[in-house]
């Protein structure tokens, strides 16, 4: 994936610039502090850093936003991971009696990785992605976002581009943060429809009755299927792909379709023939009659790694972390603009650092003078930093993050009021 002008060798030089002038520390702290509703929430959070030369340090923790900033500016991590909130400060875990240092809470997270779809995408493999297969991520986000909100009742979801070949979801509701390991694994299993390793051919098997969750997910998949699978991936075009698709149909149907496809070459029509066969089967048999749905799901339905979601102490790449291989920033994805999201347009660290050096426009100069007049010295440094990221392509992503935080903040207000009410009773 050609990222313009980015070379990982430049990281040691531009990371300091990124952390000094661009990383949105105050929004970051606002997020992880969760309104200060729970004591020591930020202080007991584990961070892990990957430093130069692959040196990996765990159990980092910080008492204030300022301390976090200073440390990150000192260490200039190549990669930042966020872990759980523990019973004690992670950076003091060695002083705690063995067995009592425990991970208590963490956001419910999901990691969708494009490599898990290698058996069903023909355009790319492994770490590569392209606009044709990116649709898989769009579908994943739509399906999971709907399910997490409508079925599970979660409201505060942050979707983030991982920087290379996937997306992450952070479910930040209080109820989600308090989920046990068993509950997280149950949620992940509920959301899993594609099962089996390389040894399994048919990875989706549906039986009656079809659960409302599957129906709703199919509604989403069906919207994208014609353009994504029939056209872009051309699954009913080339012979090898056709064979793979037909291998997922019952034997009698397969033989019939192989015949029919001799005379019909257009993928859309071939798909219609397949659907007709399915309709016929649904009328007559009790088994194997949902194969057209199974095919759509096997090719499009989100594949998530249950292990990532299960563990309360699992470390996941932080939003606004840089991806060392591509240089891209892990930015929040605005679901209102999901259809036009382009992973190749996500800013790289080199790009935004370059943008900083651009000469200021006349408007920017005037604005900055205005603000300079109003502020005192202390705030000036802070606002200068704020103004800095605003001058770069990072701005719109920080804005998206802000909107996410604003919505969540309303729930914190409610919590704080509740708490202070309770205190008044005493």
């Amino acid at each position: 994936m050609p990222a313009s002008d980015y070379d990982s060798a430049c990281l040691p030089d531009i990371l300091p610039l990124y952390y000094r002038r661009l990383f949105p520390f105050s929004q970051y702290y606002r997020w992880l502090n969760y309104g200060g509703v729970q004591k020591n929430y930020f202080q007991n959070r584990e961070f892990s850093f990957t430093l130069k030369d692959d040196i990996y340090v765990r159990y980092q923790s910080f008492t204030t936003q300022n301390e976090l900033e200073k440390e990150m500016q000192k260490m200039n991590p190549y990669k930042i991971d966020i872990g759980a909130i523990y019973s004690h400060r992670p950076n003091q875990h060695n002083t705690v009696k063995s067995g009592t240092f425990q991970a208590l809470e963490k956001e419910l997270v999901f990691d969708i990785d494009m490599t898990d779809y290698d058996d069903v995408r023909s355009c790319c493999s492994a770490a590569e992605i392209c606009p044709k297969c990116w649709t898989l991520m769009t579908i994943a986000i739509r399906v999971l976002d709907r399910a997490l909100r409508d079925d599970f009742g979660f409201q505060h979801l942050l979707w983030v581009y991982s920087g290379r070949r996937g997306v992450h979801c952070w479910v930040c509701d209080e109820a989600a943060r308090k989920l046990s390991v068993a509950a997280r694994s149950a949620v992940a299993e509920y959301l899993s429809l594609v099962k089996g390793g390389d040894e399994t051919m048919k990875k989706v098997v549906l039986s009656d009755p079809i659960h409302p969750f599957i129906r709703e997910s199919l509604v989403v998949v069906e919207r994208y299927f014609p353009l994504y699978a029939l056209q872009d991936q051309d699954i009913l075009g080339r012979k090898e792909s056709v064979d793979k698709v037909l291998a997922l149909t019952p034997e009698d149907v397969r033989k019939q379709l192989q015949q029919d496809f001799q005379n019909e070459k257009k993928p859309e029509n071939r798909w219609n023939l397949l659907k007709d066969q399915a309709k016929r089967k649904q009328g007559t048999s009790k088994k194997g009659q949902h194969f057209e749905k199974e095919i759509m799901l096997q090719y499009c339905y989100p594949r998530l790694d249950v292990n990532v979601s299960k563990g309360v102490n699992h470390l996941l790449k932080s939003p606004f972390s840089v991806h060392p291989k591509t240089g891209r920033i892990s930015v929040p994805i605005d679901l209102k603009e999901l259809e036009t999201f382009d992973p190749f347009a996500v800013p790289t660290i080199s790009m935004i650092c370059e943008e900083l050096d651009r000469p200021r426009t006349v408007e920017e100069e005037e604005k900055s003078e205005e603000i300079n007049d109003k502020e005192n010295e202390k705030d000036a440094a802070e606002s200068r930093k704020i103004r800095d990221y605003k001058r770069t392509s990072l701005a719109k992503y920080v804005k998206c993050f802000d909107q996410f935080l604003d919505v969540m903040a309303r729930s914190w207000k409610g919590e704080l009021l509740k708490k202070s009410d309770l205190q008044k009773d005493f």
């Binding site: 089996g196 390793g197 040894e199 051919m201 659960h211 594949r303």
Partner: protein, 511 residues
């Protein structure tokens, strides 16, 4: 609980109340005196029952007819079976219903003492107790089920008739068990999804805005969840009071032995380290590896890579057969280098994980090789993986092809596939063993890949180099030799314990 060598006292009033319902949530511990004899007998018998439950759970679908029949037989034999109606008026030989329920109550709490100490023990105990509870709850009449719920404060809200109507189709389509009639006739409860994880996990229920909608008849899953959570918390609490219990020297030997009995052989202690050379592995994989390991080894050789799940399953197995850490590092390194991983990356990333397996990094836990149960039930393979149990995780077609390639006879393949269809994965693997080693009947009951390896080596006429690990733990002998140092009064009891524990060993060896 007070212990003395006096005979048991039986306080009627509170007990009749406590045991008036056949099923217990085990909230209140027993508050009576009990003889050491009863203490031992009750504990051992319950343990036998739980062990039976474990074995049945692997061989049969839980709550299938065969499962229920066999469990009933065993419960009866151990005097744990009780009828749902306590009909003490009928003249009976043997213990009364009351007495059986009392035994159930007391034995559960005794085993808590033995099984609260480590994560593994707790997990095992909870799993078997939950399965036992599930079987018993299933056996109750509907009226008794309701009574049980109310006694134990599981009050969830029902939804209105209007809401039921509005959700009618969704409710019917959420579960095979829910028909239109169910929706009309039964009350539906709105339960937070965290209280019904088993139903959520298997998507057997309608879920909306964080609540599941459960017909009255399905309430059992909720109850089980509740049971599991309570027991888990209780065990954590029990663990804290353990030092006080252990200071009673009459109890400590028995409790120790009880908790070791369930594990049997876990192949965690490495014997024969270094007796196998890396050059032998390819040929051994064909001759003596179970199919799961043979498969994962082959895929490692072909792809020069394995993902995490495969590395764990295979790496620990290799440790179990006797590879040393140095050998393991060399093995993985040489294979990965042939692929896309350069030596540097291996040393940085993968070597850590190998050392971790041998307990040389992180928490320094010496991880035990996966048993069949673990390979079958957890760590399921997904896209790009080659681990797991082939009898469980492979498509029957692909499995058949593989067996053909490995030259298993067509009739043998049919037998194996039949067993797979019946979900008897370990029996299928055992059959594979019998067919590939040309033995009529395997002399062991397969439950561990390393066990397969050892038995295979035995049959292939070695056994001289790789010594057979003795199954019987040394404990009983140790106990009786310790006896002279204990007080004379205790000596008689420890001998009872020794006898009992010998009997326990022989029971588990046959399993």
């Amino acid at each position: 609980m007070q212990f003395s060598s006096r005979r048991k006292k039986f306080t009627t009033n509170s007990q009749t109340e406590l045991y008036s319902h056949p099923l217990l949530f085990y909230v209140q511990p027993p508050l009576e005196n009990i003889s050491l004899m009863e203490f031992e007998t009750f504990a051992v018998e319950r343990l036998k029952l739980l062990k039976t439950i474990e074995n049945l759970g692997v061989s049969y679908v839980k709550l299938s007819d065969q499962y229920i029949k066999k469990l009933e037989a065993e419960s009866k034999a151990l005097n744990f079976l009780y009828r749902a109606e306590a009909d003490d008026r009928k003249p009976q030989s043997g213990p009364t219903e009351q007495e059986k329920r009392r035994k159930d109550h007391i034995s559960h709490f005794i085993l808590r003492l033995a099984y609260c100490q480590t994560e593994d023990l707790r997990r095992w105990f909870i799993q078997q107790e939950v399965d036992l509870f599930r079987y018993r709850f299933n056996d109750l009449y509907p009226k008794q089920k309701l009574e049980f719920l109310h006694r134990n404060n599981l009050q969830y809200d029902t939804i209105s008739v209007e809401e039921k109507k509005a959700l009618h189709d969704k409710l019917v389509n959420s579960s095979y068990a829910v028909s239109g009639i169910t929706v009309e006739d039964q009350d539906f409860y709105k339960v937070p999804f965290q209280d019904a994880l088993d139903l959520v996990r298997l998507r057997k229920v309608y879920l909306k805005a964080g609540y599941v909608y459960i017909p009255h008849q399905e309430i059992v899953t909720i109850v089980l969840n509740d049971f599991r959570t309570r027991l888990s918390k209780a065990l954590a609490l029990t663990a804290r009071s353990l030092p006080a219990v252990h200071s009673d020297e009459r109890l400590q030997p028995l409790l120790n032995h009880l908790s070791h009995a369930y594990v049997g052989q876990d192949y965690s202690i490495q014997k024969n380290v270094g007796k196998i050379s890396l050059e032998q592995i390819d040929s051994l994989s064909g001759k003596s590896f179970p199919l799961c390991m043979r498969q994962v080894h082959q895929s490692l050789r072909e792809n020069h890579h394995l993902r995490h799940g495969g590395r764990m399953q295979y790496g620990l197995f290799l440790k179990g057969i006797g590879l040393s850490l140095e050998q393991a590092l060399q093995f993985w390194r040489s294979e990965f280098i042939k692929g896309k991983v350069d030596a540097d990356k291996f040393d940085k990333a993968y070597a850590y994980s190998v050392r971790h397996m041998f307990g040389k990094e992180g928490k320094r836990t010496d991880y035990t090789p996966y048993s069949c149960m673990k390979v079958i039930l957890s760590n399921a393979p997904s896209q790009g993986d080659h681990h797991g149990c082939p009898f469980r995780h492979s498509d029957p077609e692909l499995l058949k092809q593989k067996l053909q390639v490995y030259k298993v006879s067509p009739s043998g393949i049919i037998q194996i596939l039949e067993l797979v269809k019946g979900m008897h994965y370990q029996l299928a693997c055992q059959k594979y063993f019998e067919l590939t080693h040309n033995v009529e009947e395997a002399s062991f009951s397969l439950n561990h890949p390393n066990q397969y390896f050892i038995e295979s080596q035995k049959v292939l006429g070695g056994g001289r180099d790789i010594k057979r690990e003795t199954d019987a733990p040394q404990k009983p002998q140790e106990n009786s030799t310790k006896a002279p140092s204990a007080a004379p009064e205790a000596a008689a009891n420890t001998q009872d314990v020794a006898e009992m524990t010998e009997e326990l060993d022989s029971f588990f060896q046959d399993a």
